[in-house]
Symmetry: C3
């Protein structure tokens, strides 16, 4: 069950990576690289910091699911783009799930609740940051995509809090993921955005 949810999250993240490849007119290799990195990058960075071998290099499904997403986007990207609203909802679900699961894994390896929260957010948003950097864009995370990072922070903090209170396992993970998902969806619906510093001038560098 946990593995299946993981793979669904990976599949949706990989779709957004492959679609970015189409938008940037990359070839199928570029689409595949972006799909793999978007789907697996956050978890790989988390595991490097935890000093364990990345989970992505121990599961066949983790590597193959982004290949499938690439093939689908390559042949049917206009159709995939048409169901973008569905993808965004699934992406919000993946965001919630990965933040909760990432935080739980970090706690398991002995990190403090604060550090586990940071690593949970990293798991959830790291792949998207790598995708954007490789595609030559400033990560959307940095200038707000209707609070993309904030729901991940909520999910991770709730997970860390529940664990610290002695509540582990799937009920806690689910609760944290659902809260993050709900905030992200609400922020998207209402167009909530993180504030910008007053009087921020045009780039001068």
């Amino acid at each position: 069950m946990s593995e299946i949810l993981d793979l669904v999250g990976i599949f949706v993240f990989a779709l957004t990576g492959a679609l970015m490849g189409v938008r940037k007119r990359l070839d199928v290799v570029g689409m595949g690289v972006l799909a793999e990195m978007t789907a697996l990058g956050g978890g790989i960075v988390r595991d490097l910091i935890l000093n364990v071998r990345p989970a992505a290099f121990q599961s066949l499904g983790y590597v193959l699911v982004p290949v499938a997403a690439t093939v689908i986007v390559f042949y049917w990207h206009p159709h995939v783009a048409r169901v973008m609203p569905v993808i965004l909802v699934l992406d919000a679900a993946g965001l919630g799930l990965f933040s909760a699961v990432g935080t739980a894994k970090a706690l398991e390896y002995g990190l403090s609740p604060l550090h586990a929260t940071v690593l949970g957010v990293t798991t959830a948003v790291g792949g998207g940051v790598i995708r954007d950097v490789l595609a030559g864009a400033i990560p959307t995370l940095l200038y707000d995509r209707q609070l993309y990072a904030v729901p991940a922070l909520l999910g991770s903090a709730v997970m860390a809090g529940l664990s610290t209170a002695g509540l582990h396992g799937w009920p806690a993970t689910l609760a944290a993921a659902v809260l993050a998902f709900g905030l992200r969806i609400t922020a998207m619906r209402r167009g909530w955005r993180a504030p910008v510093a007053k009087g921020a001038e045009d780039p001068a560098a």
Copy 2:
């Protein structure tokens, strides 16, 4: 004492990250991410290469100080920008300190003096490189910021030399850091720059 110096260095590096966020008109999340990565990125890369859990994920202060820097820049960035000359001097101090401390840690973990020097430079300049890449700019390190990398190289090499000669501990670290700081400040005052290859043509790719 060592911890306090570290935190001062982290605070100053974080200020430069958050200010970059303001210049690029990022929101508060982007400012915070840049602040954290500028302050902690170099040390995280060093620790990943040493194959130990990053120090940033074992200390609350390391994570919270950049948050404080972000808040300060968010509310008072015009004032912060006005004291930029002070920040640049503190940044030079952080550069010297991080190169010396990074080299010492690498030697402690058994690296050769040459490799420890490379890792010391990485510690000092790595966060700034990550900041610039995330902000969508070619790292200033690569086209010279009045010898930004060269003082780090000096500090790291001196630290490695002193350690090899049997001189360890804070006096050696301080000497190496002060030398790097002095070269950086002198280079800034006099506008020293690293040479460019003769006849370098316009980008053709």
Copy 3:
């Protein structure tokens, strides 16, 4: 013998990094950083994922050879650029070699043939991706350089296949590297390119 081949591959990769520095009008520090990262980046990422200390930090030659390449390009880059066809052939040889060697090391550390193949490709192309990101360009890997990634994939897959069939050691490595080299050279000669998705629109983000 193996060490010498490695150093030749590192030298050629470093040349392409330093030349990119000249094209982007970077100073000698920028050229050196690009040379080091292009030559060593792929192997460092591979070793981080394998959770071992990077080989680049255990060999003096690995660090010093890119320095030599930087000096050569700094003083004689018009001559170096003139022999670019030779460099491209040597780069193809490095690509083949690094994919085979990277795959072999990953198998040694217990990865599955599929994951070892992924890591072999990473070893071969990782440094070039880091070079391009640092230089502010979308990695050429992503939009095809006459199948740059595909020969690396072929070499890695053949290496993994031969090892699984019980064929180890230099004959297998050589066979895999030569196949990758041959495909890359043929693709360059004939201008083969990876396909782009039909109807890929202009960037809309």
